[in-house]
Amino acid sequence: MSDFLQLLVGAVTLGAIYALIALGFNLIFAASRLMNFAQGDLAMLGAMVGVTLAGTLHLPFSLVVLAAVVVVGLLFLAFNLGVLRPLAKRNATLTSMVMATLALSMFLQGAAELIWGRLEQAVPSPVGSTPLLVGGIVIVPHYLVVVGTSAVAFLAMFFFFRRTLTGKALLATGFEPEAARLVGINPVSMVALTCFLGGGFAALGGLIIGPITFAAPWMGLSLAVKGFAASMLGGLGSLPGALLGGLIVGLLETFGAGYVSSAYSDAIIFLALMLILFVRPAGLLGSPLVTGEHF
């Protein structure tokens, strides 16, 4: 039983990070129907900002969080303005824009290798490393930082989409781009907003996973794959779907590794993904109303 609870703690922590990456992924998709394959590498950059600012420069963690979110958010916003927008103006298809994000992913990985080297580096945690013992279960203090950060991010986004007109306008832009323009919504600024937020949430995920897994330029791929799986499982473009999907992927990975074999944990995730999509093609919480028209 305590083994189970111990694994559960790890699973929820990992799930909280995948949920954050899926959140950024879903935000961008919700407004523009674009799948951003650079999401994992934006997360990697967040971790690398942590390496430099928290590890080398010893800046306070709140400042590091702010810097990672703003820098990576602005970077992806710049990519939107400098690459995606010009492509859209030349009537590029969504598919070629997705390929552009894949190119960005490779570029970022290469650039990170040049700046930070190929080796794994530590990202310091803002809290101590003395484990807490709760009823026989070991909890690393940083796990609480991870779960807390993710919870705050999701609560903020729930408020944004349920309570603000800008949040609703963002959803409307994805559902009916033309009708959105006709009520005065500028889709260009909506997409720009999601690019900033999507990049920022990815950076946040990378920054807080850093103290658990170390940071390295090649860490992005695994994060992107898990975040993408979380997004598909929960429902592409859905906010609660990102949370649920992230947690399920975290559970599958941790329990797969704990009870079966760590060699098979990724296979288990994708087997589950296929089975769920077979029964619910739009994901667990995805609305067929949303996805049906676009595929």
Partner: protein, 238 residues
């Protein structure tokens, strides 16, 4: 209030509208009728900025709005109810209506509530369905949402593209009764309509489009008795 001069536009490389002149006066309804492919929808979509204008000019309330994009036109007081309604299906009715006020820079919580109240008074059915997901509504109710959403922007000019399409005549008359009340407040209306009789019976003047040009233009009641219109569009010879 709306003056279109020598408007030329099209889709892709194909010119579909070849130099249209048209005027809409305050509080008046103007119909654009014509066969399929006559350029009616292209014309309307060009005015509201959804399609690029090739040449010509559009003036609204004395202001040159030729180069404004769709979301900017919504902000100067032109609301377009698009063909096929294009409601935000996964969102509930009230959210759809609220989004209609997005174009208003001066909106406040109080002004939005007041405008919502007005829409619910005009379309009592929408009040009953306010928390319902819009995609589950009937076609007529969705059209009411689309019109209500457009009115939430407090427009001074309303563009309607095929408002009767797929609706039972009774529902359409219900919606048109509301539009007449809006017109009485000075709002102008430009209606593109396939149902020629319906269009001519409910407007003051009309333009007949033929292959991207104005073939005929005059008071709607005169066009109703015009032999050419009767033969071509009102099934007079059948």
């Amino acid at each position: 209030m709306l003056e279109v001069r020598q408007l030329v536009s099209g889709y892709g490389p194909v010119e579909a509208v070849h130099g249209i002149d048209l005027k809409v006066a305050e509080g008046k309804a103007v119909a654009v009728i014509g066969a399929n492919g006559a350029g009616k929808t292209t014309f309307l979509r060009t005015i509201s900025g959804l399609m690029p204008l090739w040449s010509g000019s559009v003036t609204f309330e004395g202001r040159d709005v030729t180069r404004l994009s769709a979301h900017e036109l919504a902000r100067v007081g032109i609301s377009h109810v698009p063909e096929g309604r294009k409601v935000f299906k996964p969102l509930d009715v009230e959210t759809n209506l609220e989004l209609g006020s997005y174009s208003r820079r001066d909106r406040t919580g109080a002004s939005t509530r007041q405008d919502l109240e007005r829409i619910y008074e005009l379309f009592p059915r929408l009040r009953e369905r306010r928390r319902q997901v819009t995609g589950t509504l009937s076609g007529g109710e969705q059209q009411m949402v689309a019109v209500g959403r457009a009115l939430m922007g407090r427009p001074r000019l309303l563009l309607l593209d095929e408002p009767s399409l797929g609706l039972a005549p009774q529902i359409f008359h219900e919606i048109f009764a509301v539009l007449r009340r809006i017109m009485a407040e000075g709002v102008g209306m430009l209606i593109v309509e396939q149902n020629v009789r319906l269009a001519l019976e409910n407007t003051e003047s009309a333009y007949v489009f033929q292959t991207g040009k104005v073939a005929l233009h005059g008071p709607s009641r005169d066009l109703l008795t015009n032999e050419t219109v009767k033969k071509a569009y009102l099934g007079g010879s059948i």
